[in-house]
């Protein structure tokens, strides 16, 4: 990516009529292929023995760590959340970390990729909410605490999706951009430092994206359940008092 192009969408590798293959599509498929290949190779010979391969060890640490994080955030069983949040984290992390490979531009530096990921979260939140609380139960949270909050709740839902997309895009794009600018100004040493910093930012951004997605899902499923339980308890206590 040179200094003039803002997003890897503009880097076209191959064009045939209206069909074009740009850097975003190519590198997204590279990342997907890499993830599938590595996890297929690693899970080929799983063992529950004391002796197991280091790849299995790596995957176990990853999955266990993600399960712990999800449990910490949502205080629920991780079963149905792990595939979604874990995939988001792994995909974005691999996308960002591969940026040390020369010639590679992270697909997350394109607004199309990050918008697609944010729309996935936007769709997943109501899905999980409805799965946990039922259709009406989920819709009811939009008119909480009062009816007047309905437009604000809807606005919040939309604006946080936009924020998710633009945050990841801005961070990764700024990393690639600063690399390109420094390469033009001081090509010897400084780009390496900024690249190292970019690795840190990339990993933190992947973590933040997954955690925020999980926080949104948890807020659609959990807090209201707790509130309802509290209300039920209060009502029961009131009932007991009035009976007593």
């Amino acid at each position: 990516m040179d200094i003039k192009t803002v997003s890897p969408d503009q880097v076209v590798f191959w064009q045939w009529g209206p069909v074009s293959l740009n850097a975003t599509i190519v590198f997204t498929w590279v990342v997907i292929g890499l993830l599938v290949l590595v996890s297929w190779l690693a899970t080929r010979r799983l063992s529950s023995d004391v002796q197991f391969s280091r790849w299995q060890n790596l995957l176990e640490i990853l999955v266990k760590g993600m399960q712990n994080q999800i449990k910490d955030i949502s205080h629920q069983e991780t079963g149905i959340y792990l595939p979604f949040a874990g995939t988001l984290f792994l995909f974005i992390a691999v996308c960002n970390l591969l940026s040390i490979v020369p010639g590679y531009t992270p697909p997350t530096a394109s607004l199309s990729t990050t918008a697609a990921l944010a729309i996935c979260v936007f769709v997943a939140v109501p899905l999980y909410g409805i799965l946990n609380r039922g259709f009406l139960g989920y819709l009811r949270q939009y008119i909480r605490p009062t009816m007047f909050m309905l437009p604000f709740n809807i606005m919040g839902e939309l604006s946080r999706t936009l924020a998710l997309a633009v945050r990841l895009f801005g961070n990764m794009m700024s990393g690639a951009k600063i690399g390109a600018i420094l390469l033009a100004i001081a090509p010897l040493f400084f780009p390496i430092i900024m690249d190292a910093l970019g690795l840190l930012t990339g990993l933190i951004q992947a973590y933040i994206f997954a955690v925020l997605a999980m926080v949104y899902i948890a807020s659609a499923t959990r807090t209201h359940q707790e509130r309802e339980q509290k209300q039920e308890k209060k009502q029961e206590e009131k009932g007991e008092k009035s009976h007593g």
């Binding site: 910490d72 700024s174 933040i208 955690v211 925020l212």
Partner: protein
């Protein structure tokens, strides 16, 4: 002054101002939140994991305002629609 130089000048100056002013608020906010998080970690070292995670999420929220400013500045410099319109004419 013709419109090309006017638009070019306005874009460059505005891009610089956007990043300069737009980074003041988030940096103050991030400094405050990190200082607060450090002092609460010093008071309750057992809660370090929770505090750190909440800190990172909060920092991401705060930082996104600065990132918006950066994106706007980048659009003004590299993908300015008004500049493209004037050049195309």
């Amino acid at each position: 002054m013709d419109s090309i130089s006017l638009i070019g000048m306005a874009s460059v100056v505005t891009a610089g101002l956007t990043v300069a002013i737009g980074s003041i608020g988030p940096s103050l906010g991030e400094g405050r939140s990190v200082a607060q998080a450090l002092s609460s970690i010093a008071q309750q070292p057992d809660e370090t994991n929770n505090i750190t995670r909440t800190l990172f999420v909060g920092l991401a929220m705060i930082e996104s305002t600065a990132i918006y400013c950066f994106v706007v500045a980048m659009i003004l410099i590299f993908a300015n629609p008004f500049w493209d319109h004037v050049i195309a004419k």
